[in-house]
Symmetry: C2
Subunit: 387 residues, 2 copies
Amino acid sequence: MSKDKLTESSLGIVETQYFTFAQAPNEMVLKSGIKLGPITIAYETYGTLNADKSNAILIFHALTGDAHAAGFHKDAKKPGWWNGMIGPGKSFDTDKYFFISSNCLGSCKGSTGPASINPATGKPYGLSFPVITIEDMVIAQRELIKHLGISKLLSVAGGSMGGLQALQWAIMYPQMIKSVIAVATNHRHTAQQIALHEVCRQAIMSDPDWLGGDYYGKTLPARGMALSRMIGHITYMSEKSMDEKFGRKLIGKEKVGYDFSTDFEVENYLKYRGDSFVQRFDANSYLYLTKALDYFDLAEDKDLTTVFKNTTSNFLVIAFTSDWLYPAYQAKEFVKALKLGGLDVSYVEINTNYGHDAFLVEIESQSHLVKHFLARMEKESDRDFDI
Amino acid sequence: MSKDKLTESSLGIVETQYFTFAQAPNEMVLKSGIKLGPITIAYETYGTLNADKSNAILIFHALTGDAHAAGFHKDAKKPGWWNGMIGPGKSFDTDKYFFISSNCLGSCKGSTGPASINPATGKPYGLSFPVITIEDMVIAQRELIKHLGISKLLSVAGGSMGGLQALQWAIMYPQMIKSVIAVATNHRHTAQQIALHEVCRQAIMSDPDWLGGDYYGKTLPARGMALSRMIGHITYMSEKSMDEKFGRKLIGKEKVGYDFSTDFEVENYLKYRGDSFVQRFDANSYLYLTKALDYFDLAEDKDLTTVFKNTTSNFLVIAFTSDWLYPAYQAKEFVKALKLGGLDVSYVEINTNYGHDAFLVEIESQSHLVKHFLARMEKESDRDFDI
């Protein structure tokens, strides 16, 4: 390991572990009413659980993320996706806290999902995998937490889809968490978010190689996957950051080609991102996870304040000015509901051009906020707070 | 014709006309250097050209629009796309002015484009059609204006792609126009606009039925076209207008289906829009027109102010607060350059939730602005204005 690499991550080498539950006849009952089991959850841990088991923090990844949030896998060149935040002396300080990062139910990164082998058939589930929800992901995570012998978490934290799970925890298991860190997220998927996902799903399902989801061991639905990812990347960046990064720069040309080959760097970037995604993610998982996101609506037909009525957690909510996928006003909606419910909420809007991607790249500003918030969580008793 | 229909459009029945030029050996030389001819331009006119030919206004449509801007085609149920703006007593008053609305070069609505028959082969051009630019569209429009015997236009007006053409006219033929009305537009396509178009192009070109553009008389590349249109519609609406119109409303269901069929109204709307687009537009034209848009950059490597140095027109520039496809700040950039050049510019930002679609639906506020602007253009002599 090079010096640079060590500086980047003093956590060093980490390994993914696996936990399996819901073995027959004790399958998990999903929100849809369908039973699923056995279920394996891939997870990593960083730091050491203290004697009274009071220093555990559960981390959630975003849509196409995985359990590998920090440190390096053996022989890997890149660290985990939130390595800037998690490590010794970092805001998520592994010298103080014990972190659990799990791959969500339905993903393709070690946890059970549509690409997993259905034990009843010996073949991948494909579209016979049941549609799952954010609630189902949270139930599976709770099984993992119980398995690790932890009864109360100091915090649950995540950005984007991870933020949705953090909010869901606050409602489903309020007695099990002291605090919530929700970044670049909202309390219900809106029409535009659903619309963008539906186009991505249609792109995959329109690909003749998708074969109704039965493409395992055959040609991957590469064109549909690439298109989905291109759309995704446009939504993760802001208009400003795209203009700053690419503008109208041409790719190795003096002038445009007057044909349909690649002219602009931004086109090349999207194609590269699209093509590389095909190899690293499962198309069916993309369908299932986007559907879980679109089904997410904490309040449904109820008043949002009443939904949080059993919640006693402290909240740190972070939004980004240029994030148009999960705009700041959406975070303010649930922040308002939390405050109306008398809860302790710190809301911070970070001024940045990075768009939705900011939760992965605006490390310094988030680090300060998280560090101080967690220090306060450690100090404070479980008393209620007046606003 | 029903009473309602007459109220909607007192212009009554209108007809599309056709003008052909650039016959061999006088083909038009495109910006790419390639020669193209013959070229047919479909157009409509409304109102009467006055004796001194000083009341002519040229109207430009947006990406998938056509020459049919106002009135009704025989037996048609819907009027032209800017019928709310153009007619007797309307802001574009056919009792006062003479309007020319032409379908742009490269389109599939009567003007020469990739779906037209190549006289050299007797077959549709397909991808052998040369890549065209906004400049090329403007040159073709000028041929039409010359053909109609008009040497100076009172105004050129359009929204979105139509606005780009209006700005291009101001630079290429400043002596031929008295004023410019540019709505929801900008002076160069930015990285995000290019990115969105590139995804649409890839969606079409990834469709196996596209056949390298040679699908005429065979199966249409329907899946790719539908995907493109779905992406388009998301960008034409604002996040707010989508939420107001659709929210999380389900389509004829008590609850979500826990499968990959349509759950939400917004999904259904996009699918309908996508599917109906396949029948009404040519996939190759979509490729060519989006490419022309992406190539558009008035300044290129020059200072934008110097680009307008020979321009003497008066400008009315309209932008919409919730338009994220052509954000208002982009209009302000060229408004600034025009003002720095000492030109007379009225810039108005209309507060609306309709997003980019506002140029087609915010008729009342636009009508007032256009009416007063045109009245001023009629009154004023050609003197220069101080800012």
